[in-house]
């Protein structure tokens, strides 16, 4: 190959590489993303992981490692029973779930699926923001569909209601992803009727999960309400001093000493 053809060829190669780099990379990653989702694992992740783990210990519901030992019909009935918590399940869903639970590798599949979903969310949505989550939690920013702010029932770090769970240490029990799905589905006895009609959006749930995963970032010294009290007390003290000063100006002087002072002038 002469020099010229080499240059020509290399130019072609260059453009090919450049094309591949610009167009193909996302193509590759899209291709990776579009790998068939592990449907049962995804189902478990979204619908069950709020309360159950497989090999991850007990949450609100039991660890389901032992489910591999159950008979298929029993397991089917058990899964069907969970409809009251997890929402309606089709027969296909139930069958898939039974198969999934019988699979000894289920735990690994969940982890994989979790990673996949996390990656997917990361690319599709704005990154979860702690401050956004905080605002949503406190109700300083309303939820898009009009649901009530978390703080009205839940306690977190040093503020909030006492009706719901204290969420201060929730991150020790559930990862951010689990939290996110739990928030989004809101599939709990009290939360369900409230949020069914006013869904928490995926984006909001991401922010909230981020917020709840980082209790250490919350300025734990004072809640805003307490902060206001401290500021108010400070202001009050200043006003009090000013008042004292004003009153002191009104105060009658030492009569006799003033007479002496005046006469000695």
């Amino acid at each position: 190959m002469d020099m010229r053809s080499f240059l020509k060829n290399s130019r072609i190669v260059f453009w090919e590489i450049a094309f591949l780099l610009v167009v193909g990379w996302p193509g590759f990653s899209l291709a990776a993303d579009n790998a068939p989702a592990d449907k049962p694992a995804e189902l478990f992740f979204y619908r069950c992981a709020g309360c159950h783990t497989i090999g991850g210990g007990k949450l609100s519901g039991p660890d389901l490692t032992a489910a591999t030992q159950w008979s298929v019909p029993d397991l089917g009935i058990a899964v069907k029973k969970m409809e009251k918590n997890a929402g309606s399940l089709t027969q296909i869903d139930i069958d898939q779930m039974v198969d999934f639970l019988k699979d000894p590798a289920a735990a690994g599949r969940i982890t994989k699926q979790k990673q996949r979903i996390a990656d997917k969310l990361r690319t599709e949505l704005p990154p979860p923001s702690f401050s956004q989550g905080q605002k949503l939690f406190r109700g300083q920013k309303t939820l898009k569909n009009g649901g009530p702010a978390c703080i009205s029932c839940h306690y977190f770090v040093n503020e909030g209601g006492s009706l719901g769970l204290d969420l201060t240490t929730i991150k020790d029990r559930s990862s951010a992803v689990v939290l996110q799905s739990a928030i989004e589905s809101a599939n709990y006895k009290v939360m369900k009727p409230i949020y069914e009609q006013r869904k928490i959006t995926l984006e909001e749930s991401l922010h909230l999960a981020e917020y709840l995963s980082h209790p250490e970032k919350v300025n734990s010294r004072l809640a805003p309400a307490q902060e206001q009290i401290v500021k108010g007390a400070g202001l009050g003290f200043v006003v009090f001093l000013a008042l004292l000063w004003l009153l002191n100006r009104q105060r009658k002087g030492r009569t006799r000493e003033n007479l002496i002072k005046r006469s000695s002038k």
Partner: protein, 498 residues
């Protein structure tokens, strides 16, 4: 008409010699104890002077007494319900220790205990509050007999109406003069201290009008100290309660005059029952200040008037009290002769202690370096009195000269009348004219002279029959057994309040 009885008083200032015997008698009986050292329920002031506490008459400073507000309503100058609360823990108009004085005694024991030394041991002054040696800077009568005149006498608040020239004349050599003003609680019929007390501890006794502080109820807010324009309520720093002149009620109840009355060397003090109309007090105290003396007189009821007697009996005033009121020397001085005047009626508290203003000292006159003594010069006119009428009117009639002049003219007429009797050097025509001008008959002049110059204790003190034994009987104790328990009633040591 709501007729009430009042044990009322007259001080005849012409007779006061400023000996402070009254003050000492009072102190020995009532205020010779820790916390009360600085209290002078009775004190004698030299006028012109600033008094005790210094400049107490200056209500722009101390804010005591009543004022008529824009809506023509009688209102406390300070310490009413809206004024009291913001000043609850901080009262800017309160007299302080520097306005009174730091009470002291002398370290007498040092005279006996001092170690052997070159010099005589001395008894240095020590504070009665801290027990530490102090430099005495003031006292309860620091301006006595015009001492420290440039500081005290010249700053008498009653000089407000005098021009600079008049004031200068007053202090010029050969002209400077003074009078004494003994003061006790006026037992006002419209007491601002009672109105100001947030605890309801102060009250005016129904039967005799003595104003008292219930030591069990007093919580030491000191609103009364500020509200009393005469500064005759003192705060006891030991018991945490306020105290005041009690008009020696244990003595009054047993038919004796108060100690200061009893001990008075000049016999200047008179006591007797007056009847007054409680219904019209507010109305009468709202008049412009020049009219206050007259409106105060209009409240005092004639105890000989059958209508008044009827109403008094209906109000539960006993016939004994009414009879006592009819014989009262106070009625004569205040109403019949119109000699006695209230001290500072402009405070609008309706003081029930009246003062006969001093005629003496009249201006001396020198001719050929000899003081003249004939009737023409010494007793000529009241305008020659050394203390100007303007000044006396500031003290006794809220700046209105007329009542003071009227009183002085009568005093002068009595004096000239009496001179005509003893010396016979005044023509009958002139005497008649003087008496007529003063509005006196010869008989009245004689009576005034007798009650002023020659009264015995039974003339000066017309003590009402308080019938304490009846009250004692009601407690279930027979008067025989409880003889001597009248007076103080229960004697409980006052303690710092709850």
């Amino acid at each position: 008409m709501d007729v009430r009885a009042h044990v009322s008083m007259v001080f005849h200032l012409d007779k006061c010699i400023g000996c402070h015997t009254c003050s000492v008698a009072c102190k020995n009986i009532w205020t010779d104890r820790p916390g009360a050292e600085y209290m002078w329920w009775n004190n004698v002031e030299t006028k012109p002077g600033t008094g005790y506490p210094a400049q107490w008459e200056d209500q722009l400073n101390f804010k005591g007494g009543w004022v008529v507000d824009k809506d023509r309503k009688l209102k406390l100058r300070s310490q009413d319900k809206t004024d009291f609360l913001p000043k609850l823990f901080y009262n800017p108009n309160q007299p302080g220790l520097s306005d009174y004085y730091e009470p002291w005694t002398y370290a007498y024991q040092n005279l006996f205990d001092a170690p052997l030394g070159k010099d005589q041991p001395t008894a240095i002054p020590v504070s009665k509050i801290t027990g530490e040696p102090i430099d005495i800077e003031s006292g309860p009568n620091w301006d006595d007999d015009l001492s420290g005149s440039p500081i005290y006498a010249e700053n008498d608040p009653n000089f407000k109406n005098l021009t600079a020239d008049e004031k200068e004349m007053l202090f010029s050599v050969e002209r400077i003069s003074m009078m004494y003003l003994p003061r006790i609680c006026n037992h006002c019929a419209n007491p601002s201290c009672v109105a100001a007390c947030p605890s309801g501890a102060l009250y005016k006794r129904g039967e005799d009008g003595i104003v008292l502080i219930n030591q069990d109820k007093c919580r030491g807010w000191r609103a009364c100290v500020s509200a009393c324009p005469y500064k005759k309520i003192y705060y006891n720093w030991k018991t945490g309660k306020s105290e005041k002149c009690i008009l020696c009620y244990p003595r009054v109840e047993t038919g004796q005059p108060p100690a200061c009355f009893h001990t008075c060397v000049g016999r200047i003090r008179y006591m007797g029952v007056m009847l007054y109309d409680a219904d019209r007090i507010e109305e009468a105290m709202k008049v412009p200040k020049e009219g206050l003396v007259d409106s105060q007189r209009s409240l005092l009821l004639d105890p000989h008037d059958p209508k008044v007697i009827e109403k008094a009996l209906a109000n539960g005033i006993s016939p004994g009290w009414i009879e006592s009121a009819q014989r009262s020397p106070i009625w004569k001085f205040v109403m019949e002769w119109k000699l006695a005047l209230p001290l500072h009626p402009e405070f609008r508290t309706l003081p029930m202690l009246y003062y006969v203003p001093p005629l003496l000292p009249v201006m001396g006159r020198t001719e050929n370096n000899i003081y003249e003594h004939d009737a023409d010069t010494i007793f000529s006119t009241i305008e020659k009195a050394r203390l100007p009428m303007k000044y006396l009117s500031m003290l006794f009639s809220a700046g209105n000269i007329t009542p003071v002049e009227e009183s002085m003219r009568r005093l002068l007429a009595v004096r000239i009348y009496q001179r005509s009797i003893t010396m016979g050097d005044i023509e009958a025509e002139r005497l008649k004219r003087i008496l007529r001008e003063a509005g006196l008959t010869e008989k009245q002049a004689q009576e005034i002279y007798t009650l002023s110059a020659l009264p015995g204790p039974e003339d000066r003190f017309m003590m009402p029959p308080i019938q304490r034994e009846e009250a004692v009987e009601k407690t279930g104790c027979s008067p025989e057994q409880c003889k001597g328990t009248c007076g103080l009633g229960k004697t409980q040591k006052p303690e710092r309040g709850p």
